[in-house]
Symmetry: C2
Subunit: 209 residues, 2 copies
């Protein structure tokens, strides 16, 4: 097996990498790191990834981390099908859309953040869920505003599927964890339906991992 | 003026883009968006960036957003000096290091998060500062562990300066906001000294903007 993916079934960042690997038809072995019970902080996993987060993709003995960096790497070494457009402006746009989830929304609901909320502000499960739902909806709202303004077709950054679509699909999965009302975000929801009709997305859903 | 940068003097993400523009010797005009008083949510700024965050770089009439996507764009259109290594594994490593700040640390201390902490958990200024310091130190610790393991030289991802160094420098600036003790992170601190000896970094410091 060429690619070994350290991830977790519920992890949105792991979902993104699973989709990218499947879109490129690359076989991979999955190793579960239970981030709900702190497996990412174990000495064993520290040897794999000093950043103590999932996913990590091990390829040719090298540990690659951060989902967006991993997807770009897969695009660099297996260019077809491309996960980024060719022209610089469109590439920048696809990356920026991806980063709405990767940087502005998803990090706020990671288990380590919920744990710190509980430790610092005595946040109980309900409060943590409300926190997660809030940031989940903020991310979806940012996507809806962008897609409404740009009206791309059929994918988030234009004619071809990119990392932006993978990250938006992940945001939809995350929203499901918090029972977000997707009818508030009709353009995002429609894009999600288009993505999840593809086996690479459907087969990577948490429930199937 | 070819490049118009919507940013804010204290914004770490704006700092990153200022450094990248200066490293590539690209002149730019700065327009301040006061993110402490909510300028990023104004109808005027919504027309520039529907994601309601700084920075936005306007080039040839196009709005580019997300600091990492902007730096990659600048690298695509002005390849010299390169902000990413050439080989795929090193590129992935530089991007992953950049994302420790961009995705795992900096988003947790943005004004919108502090505002939500105050609204949701009655967090006062002290509590918000403690929150910021915690995540600031978490990011620095992740960098220190990585650099200790990898022992790159002289820059974070190897022989050339990359987006990783820019993002680590931004993390050091952010740590300064929370009076973090940099002696806890000697390898990061030394890398920071190397970066801030360069005019592109020193001239982009918040105090000079």
């Amino acid at each position: 097996m060429t690619f070994r993916l350290y991830g977790f079934w519920r992890s949105i960042a792991s979902f993104r990498v699973r989709v990218a690997l499947r879109l490129k038809n690359l076989a991979f072995e999955e190793i579960s790191v239970d981030i709900l019970s702190g497996g990412q902080f174990s000495p064993e996993y520290d040897r794999v990834n000093t950043a103590h987060a999932v996913p990590t993709l091990v390829h040719k003995g090298h540990s690659l981390f951060q989902s967006l960096a991993i997807m770009e790497y897969l695009d660099d070494i297996h260019p077809e099908p491309a996960l980024l457009p060719e022209d610089p402006l469109s590439r920048a746009h696809a990356r920026a859309l991806a980063l709405i989830a990767v940087a502005d929304s998803h990090p706020l609901i990671a288990p380590r953040v919920r744990n710190h909320l509980a430790a610092t502000f005595d946040a109980d499960t309900n409060a943590c869920n409300a926190w997660g739902q809030y940031w989940s909806l903020e991310g979806l709202a940012a996507y809806e505003r962008n897609l409404l303004r740009q009206r791309p077709a059929p994918f988030a950054a234009g004619p071809t599927l990119t990392v932006a679509d993978i990250c938006i699909a992940g945001q939809i999965v995350m929203a499901g964890y918090f029972k977000a009302d997707m009818t508030l975000f009709p353009i995002v929801a429609e894009l999600g339906e288009r993505c999840f009709a593809l086996p690479a997305f459907a087969d990577s859903l948490p429930a199937r991992s």
